[in-house]
């Protein structure tokens, strides 16, 4: 793949898998490794949840992630916070620039409304099946992330999707700062305008991460981030 940079030695790669459109996927991304999600064809978004793999009652918190960083749109340098004041993932690279933290998950009703009758895979049903395999369920679904998706918010609060913002090959790198259980659904964004149901494949690559340098962007980005890492590192002393 052209998206792979030349400084990536092959032996750094722990896992490499293509996830078909419509499917769900989960994997524990261990502290010190990085998950790269590649939008192979420039698709319609990837819905995403994550948990402390060692204690999944701690999970991604959209509200804390937004207010701690004073922004609801995520990109390079920013962090995914848990509801326990700790960092799940650092976004160490991002070639897309648009990731939605607000609009949530498609449902059986939303996909039937959008695409008409059919056996369309939806995010919520995918999440539930995937979570069940980890002994998690309905109570474990907080507001999710949607990678490779842009929503806009008007001053009066109106929210809408800006379609087709992601180009083929766009990727985001998520460096695990604790052992993180990832649960994702490769299904179109809940506000996808349709009318065709057309999820496309993504690729997931997990690599060993180099130890963060003293001037690591994500670790030094803000005083809040430094405190978030202090809380996180304390788990591993």
């Amino acid at each position: 793949m052209s998206v792979e940079t030349s400084n990536d030695a092959p032996d750094q790669i722990i896992w490499d898998e293509v996830i078909p459109g419509g499917s769900y996927w989960s994997r524990v991304i261990r502290r010190g490794t990085t998950l790269r999600l590649i939008d192979l064809e420039g698709g319609k978004g990837v819905s995403f949840l994550c948990y402390n793999a060692d204690n999944p009652v701690e999970r991604y918190n959209a509200a804390d992630t937004g207010k701690i960083q004073f922004n609801v749109f995520l990109t390079r340098g920013m962090l995914l916070y848990s509801d326990m004041g700790r960092v799940l993932f650092s976004i160490t690279e991002d070639t897309c620039g648009y990731h939605d933290t607000i609009a949530g998950a498609s449902t059986a009703l939303s996909v039937e409304t959008r695409y008409g009758p059919g056996d369309w895979k939806n995010t919520r049903a995918n999440f539930l099946n995937c979570l069940a395999k980890h002994n998690l369920g309905k109570k474990d679904i907080p507001p999710n992330l949607n990678f490779f998706s842009r929503v806009k918010v008007e001053p009066d609060g109106a929210l809408a999707l800006v379609p087709e913002v992601s180009k083929p090959g766009n990727f985001i790198d998520l460096r695990a700062e604790m052992n993180v259980l990832v649960v994702l659904s490769n299904t179109p964004h809940v506000l996808d305008p349709g009318p065709t149901y057309a999820p496309t494949a993504i690729r997931a690559i997990v690599r060993q991460s180099p130890p963060p340098a003293p001037d690591d962007l994500c670790r030094t980005h803000s005083p809040e981030g430094e405190r978030g890492f202090a809380n996180t590192d304390a788990l591993f002393l």
Binding site: V57, N61, A62, A63, D64, G66, K67, I68, F70, N71, V72, F73, Y81, D83, M84, G85, R86, I102, A103, G104, A105, T107, L109, S110, R124, G137, K138, K139, D140, I141, P142, P143, N144, K152, V153, E154, P155, D156, G157, A158, L159, A160, V190, L191, E224, R227, G228, A230, N231
Partner: protein, 212 residues
């Protein structure tokens, strides 16, 4: 729909209590009943969660509520949608104008990140929610993104989100009609480190009327 609630008489309320500053509250509001929340002192954030009283795994979903109405703010006419796509409550009256769905609840842990590691000892909304919800057999897994009534959290086109000075005057009112039997959990927000409570948490008033 809206005109009904403007005529509600406090003398006829079946419940009428002042919730002191910083305190939690939970209550089962029956289908058809109307809950009024009064921001007595102004600019007091009221953190709010709501569940199907008979099956609390069904609960308010911020994302489903936002996408259903195409707007991030709760205001008069907003239907609070559950994670199963059902209407839990409808906002029948709102004299404030808009309410936050994105800021969530303060917690000891997030306070430590936002304001300083030594701030984790301060009281916080998650503590209130847990104190209230554990009385009903619920717990941490039942905490999801909540509504913050009377809290002003504008979002700029570039995504900038900030909790700023309030827009709620003393005596501001929001009223919600239960569409099914619901369990309501409130934290009268104790936050002291930003303007969400005007740096001075104050009491709120809670009233409930039977279906007209």
């Amino acid at each position: 729909m809206v005109t009904i609630s403007t005529t509600l008489d406090p003398e006829r309320a079946i419940y009428n209590q002042v919730l002191p500053a910083r305190k939690p509250w939970t209550y089962v509001v029956k289908a058809g009943q109307i809950l009024r929340i009064v921001d007595l002192g102004g600019n007091q954030a009221v953190d709010f969660l709501v569940y199907n009283a008979h099956d609390p795994a069904e609960r308010y979903s911020a994302a489903d509520t936002i996408t259903a109405q195409g707007n991030i703010f709760v205001t008069e006419g907003t239907r609070l949608i559950s994670n199963d796509g059902h209407i839990l409550m409808t906002v029948t009256r709102d004299t404030c104008g808009r309410h936050d769905t994105l800021g969530g609840a303060c917690s000891c842990e997030s306070n430590s990140v936002r304001f300083g590691l030594d701030k984790k000892w301060q009281h916080a909304c998650v503590e209130n929610f847990l104190a209230g919800l554990t009385q009903h057999g619920l717990g941490k897994r039942d905490l999801v993104s909540n509504i913050n009534f009377f809290m002003n959290v504008p979002v700029s086109p570039d995504g900038t989100l900030e909790i700023v000075d309030g827009i709620s005057d003393p005596g501001s009112i929001v009223e919600l009609r239960a569409e099914i039997d619901v369990l309501v959990a409130i934290s009268n927000c104790p936050q002291m480190n930003n303007p969400c409570n005007g740096y001075n948490p104050t009491p709120i008033q809670l009233l409930i009327w039977d279906a007209p």
